[in-house]
């Protein structure tokens, strides 16, 4: 709607002041958002020491030494691979389980689906720190401590409620006539889901996958609590370990932070429109 206003103004020819003010406001908002990213990248490739009382806002000469150092001296590549492994596996399991349940909750409305809706909301209230304690004990008994599969399980549990809700919202948008046509052809619900529905909810699947991947990539507390061997750490835990008791190797840490942030940012830039649709679909409608 303000679109109309801007458009009208420009027709009247009083664009300049309004437009300048608008872009100025935009700058004021965007600058503090973007600056930390800029700072992280600039400081990670800066040749001069980052420990200076008058930091260079613009980098002088560029070097990738700190990147080389962390790859050589710390198991950064292993942490990276571990993170990728648990994020990918969490994504696959979440998408699979969320599709089955989302379909059921969307199509078979009964007592069960009402209870499930309530349960999903309740999971949003569970404090991770309260879950962490009993999970630690359960995982200890199941031999899942210090085990990457344990992390897959705990992250799936956290990704699933929202993923399920997103999937249900997407399937709600597909006309029920498709199911009925399938039923007349003698398909059972599983066949209807896999042959007819899934090809139509691919955007929903992408949305849930993006959500689950980002969530698992972000995991810190489960990894920190359940994993003790350094070679099984996730990138988040490794990154935090650059903060020592008495000193912080900032240049190395910033390089590791850039490496750690790149995959989700790239992932996000390409798939954001699906994820945004998924996250807003359920909330706008209800």
């Amino acid at each position: 709607v303000p679109a109309l206003k801007l458009g009208q103004k420009s027709k009247l020819g009083e664009i300049n002041l309004g437009k300048c003010g608008f872009y100025l406001l935009l700058m004021v908002i965007i600058l503090p958002i973007v600056f930390p990213f800029y700072w992280m990248i600039v400081q990670s490739v800066q040749k001069d020491s980052v420990f200076t009382f008058a930091p260079h806002i613009f980098p002088g000469s560029v070097t990738f030494n700190s990147y080389r150092t962390i790859i050589k001296e710390r198991p950064v590549v292993t942490w990276f691979a571990n993170t990728f492994f648990i994020a990918a596996l969490t994504t696959v399991i979440t998408v699979f389980v969320a599709t089955l349940s989302g379909y059921s909750l969307s199509r078979f409305r009964n007592r069960f689906s009402k209870a499930a809706g309530f349960a999903i909301l309740t999971t949003q209230m569970l404090p991770a720190t309260l879950l962490l304690i009993p999970m630690y004990i359960i995982f200890r008994d199941l031999n899942l401590l210090d085990n990457l599969f344990g992390l897959v399980l705990s992250n799936t549990a956290f990704a699933l409620p929202m993923g399920l809700w997103m999937m249900k919202s997407f399937i709600d948008g597909i006309p029920i006539e498709i199911d009925e046509a399938g039923r007349i052809d003698g398909c059972n619900p599983l066949q209807i889901l896999f042959r007819l529905i899934i090809p139509l909810v691919l955007p929903g699947i992408v949305a849930v996958a993006t959500f689950a991947f980002l969530l698992a990539w972000d995991d810190f507390f489960f990894a920190r609590t359940f994993i003790s061997t350094e070679s099984k750490w996730l990138m988040s835990v490794g990154l935090n370990s650059f903060i020592g008791e008495y000193s912080i190797q900032w240049d190395q840490m910033l390089s590791a932070a850039v490496m750690f942030s790149l995959p989700p940012i790239i992932f996000f830039l390409f798939l954001q429109k699906y994820l945004i649709k998924g996250l807003t679909l359920g909330s706008v409608k209800n």
Binding site: P36, M125, P127, P189
Partner: protein, 299 residues
Amino acid sequence: MIRVNHHKSIEWWSVLLNLPMLLIFGLTLLYPIVTGIKLSFFNTKLLMPVNASKFLGLRNYLKMFSNSQFWQSLWITVIYTIGVVVLTYLIGLITALILNPDFRGRSLARILVILPWAVPEVAAVLIWRWVLDYQYGVLNYCGRMLGLLKANLGWLTDPNLALLSVVIVTIWKQFPLATLMLLAGLQTISIELYEAARMDGANRMQEFMHITLPGLKPVNIVLTLLVTLYSFKRVTLIFVMTGGGPSCATETLSIKTYLEAFRNFNIGYGSAIGTVMLLIMVVFSLLYFWAVSHSDKGD
């Protein structure tokens, strides 16, 4: 015929399709939460077998309620939550209103605004720790250059400033979610409403109060609840940023639960704090829904 058979098999199919979900929820959410609440009545320590622990009844809870540190923590959590929710919503709304109209560079602006949300929490916090660093931080440097600061501020080391810093970084990290949801909400408001209002001679403020805000109501309800719950139980961001310090200035209930259980090894006492957190959130949500449905009837 088909219909009758169909209805009979519905229950069976919905159980079958939900079986994997129920298994995962049961093992990783339901069973742990029941265990967690149960542990809060015992004196369990981290390194001893669960069955060796002693039943304490409500003694963990009584100890907690008579401990001034618990109330201090609760107070910090409430301040943090209110600050974050109010500012996240305001900044999210302003950004959404700015990004809603068509202008040159809108797609780029939208992507830049959403960026903080895509960055892993630990990475985001560590960048900010560097920006806020007492000695070498660029914020103190710029503040002094521009004459806003007389001396370096201990953004994370000064107990009076640490909570504010944590609130700022939390908002930076999560307001994009608010912007996205509000943008989606703005798009559901019919453009005719604004045209009609303009014909009636409404000014922008009136348009905003009588069309935009009521139109955003469904989004507002969900958004405010989610952000409140997430802030109340937020843990990674605060933990990586300050660890609850300096001198407990940022020790929210979540942080306290973790520290009690995994630093002091008092699993039972930690679980009791966590259980109280859960109770507060459940009661809050129920009151919230009651208030929302009540105001609907009032309209």
